[in-house]
């Protein structure tokens, strides 16, 4: 019984792998979008369904809108990388609202949550924002992370190196949180000029839903090629909390000598791969 309880608790932490559960839909795409599903790289297109575990990467002039089932409308700006980490069907009873977690590895993300959505977490390597009724904008890069609460409210917390979420602070409309490595998190009323100038202009507008245009049979994304090491290197180096299950997911790629060779050259960066590379 105790084992069952532990298993159930762990199930909350480990993302459900390859359950083929639809998480949402790509409802707008400008530029090109690369999707990594399983071990294959696909070309994203409007109408394509998203699944838990999908990795999406926008081109440098790209703009993509994702609408999650029972969840928020999310827009990714140019050169942005996100990972549909977790989606669960739990939520407010009777509302059908889902909870979920999206990881923004780098780039720009704007998310609109409404009355119909459950709490959604948007994690970046430095800051994490959780909201159920707000609109937030996140910018994540190696040099820092900024979160602006455009409307509503959100809980903001530091993200540890392992991907765990620290103690959160409640933020209100127009509060701006900023984190730079080596410095304490700061907050102010209103976004900084640097943030405003860098933010994609389109982020200043509303996020209207376009889901009603995609009611028919969804198109299948076009498969391009098996994922290479270079394409997932940054994802393999994510905080350990987020990359749980990646070894099992990408292990089949070890059959590619080039993939194996490059992974072995950098195995010190991801020691969790050691058992898969050298089983004995």
């Amino acid at each position: 019984m105790r084992l069952l309880a532990v298993a159930l608790a762990l199930a909350w932490l480990v993302p459900a792998a390859a359950t083929a559960q639809d998480a949402g839909t790509i409802t707008f795409l400008e530029g090109s979008l690369r999707m990594i599903r399983g071990t294959t790289v696909f070309q994203g297109a409007e109408g394509v369904r998203l699944k838990q575990g999908d990795i999406v990467e926008n081109s440098d002039k790209g703009f993509v809108q994702l609408e999650f089932i029972g969840g928020p409308i999310v827009v990714l700006g140019p050169s942005s990388r996100a990972y549909v980490f977790r989606l669960s069907a739990r939520g407010n009873s009777g509302s059908g609202a889902a909870e979920g977690e999206l990881v923004l590895l780098s780039g720009w993300l704007k998310a609109l949550s409404g009355a119909h959505t459950g709490p959604y977490r948007f994690a970046s390597p430095l800051l994490t924002a959780t909201t159920r009724d707000g609109t937030i904008v996140i910018h994540s890069s190696e040099s820092g992370c900024d979160v602006f609460i455009e409307s509503g409210s959100a809980a903001i917390a530091d993200t540890s190196g392992g991907g765990n979420v620290g103690k959160s602070t409640n933020g209100a409309t127009r509060q701006f949180f900023s984190y730079r490595p080596g410095k304490a998190r700061s907050s102010s009323s209103g976004p900084s000029a640097t943030f405003l100038n860098a933010m994609p202009l389109a982020f200043r507008d509303d996020l209207p839903s376009r889901l009603s245009r995609f009611t028919g049979k969804p198109p299948e994304p076009k498969a391009l090629h098996a994922v290479s090491y270079a394409e997932i290197r940054a994802w393999l180096a994510m905080p350990v909390q987020w990359r749980k299950g990646f070894v099992e997911r990408f292990e089949p790629r070890l059959g590619d000598p080039e993939f194996r060779k490059q992974l072995e050259a950098h195995v010190a960066e991801y020691p969790d791969w050691e058992p898969a590379l050298h089983p004995n």
């Binding site: 455009e150 127009r174 209103g190 976004p191 405003l196 200043r204 507008d205």
Partner: protein
Amino acid sequence: MKLLLKFNLVLCIVFAVGLLAAGYVCNRLLQQNARAEIMENARIMIEAAMAVRTYTATQIKPLLETQMKYTFLPQSVPAYSANSYFTQLQKKFPDYAYKEATLNPTNPINRATDWEADLVEEFRKSRDKKEIIGERDTPNGRMLYIARPMTVSSPACLSCHDTAEDAPQTMVERYGTANGFGWKLNDIVTAQIVSVPTQLAAQRAKNMFKAFMISLAAVFGILLIATNALLILMVIRPVNQLSSMASSVSLGNSEISEFPLKGKDEIAELSHSFNRMARSLIEAMKMLRT
């Protein structure tokens, strides 16, 4: 004095009096008309400014609500739109000026000057007054103006002009909290004023007056020439010929030919009578000689 001279003298006097009278009446009418036309243009401009304001408030501002959370956009402000519209219009109508003179504006550029504030107060005292037209002296000359009151007619206006706490934060960051707040619904806070130099109406009337008088003088001139030509051809020349023939007969010349008869007018009748008289006289003179 010759008949022609007398005739022309009288004609010129009559023409001159007529020209003066027509000129006086015409000038007054043209001045009134020019002023009325200018006021009508000003009214149209005010109505167009109101239309632009309404369009901005109902269609543009809602589209910019989210963007306004990031940066203040003056394009969302009806007064800004009205002023921008008029700036464009001024390229075609440079003599007109427009201002939404406000007692307590957000943007100090719209603050009412003394005389403008008097207009607003006048509208606040007499709420049934829809328009005030007047003239005033300025360093640039005398100005004609038309002013209309603007009322805080919609609660939407108060989203930016009630309290600083309720106003868009980006607007407060830009303009501060000291101005443009405390407006109340149905208050008259602004006078829409279109101004134009009175010289414009006078100049327009003058141009039309000049054209009219030149045309009238030209018509009089042509009439003078035509009547002179007719008089000479149809009266003076035949009368001179008749006079010459009468002299000839009176000097005993019995061999003169008859005066040629043309037409049936009074000169032809006179010629006919003269010829009869000449024939009778010549016959009488012949009878006396024999």
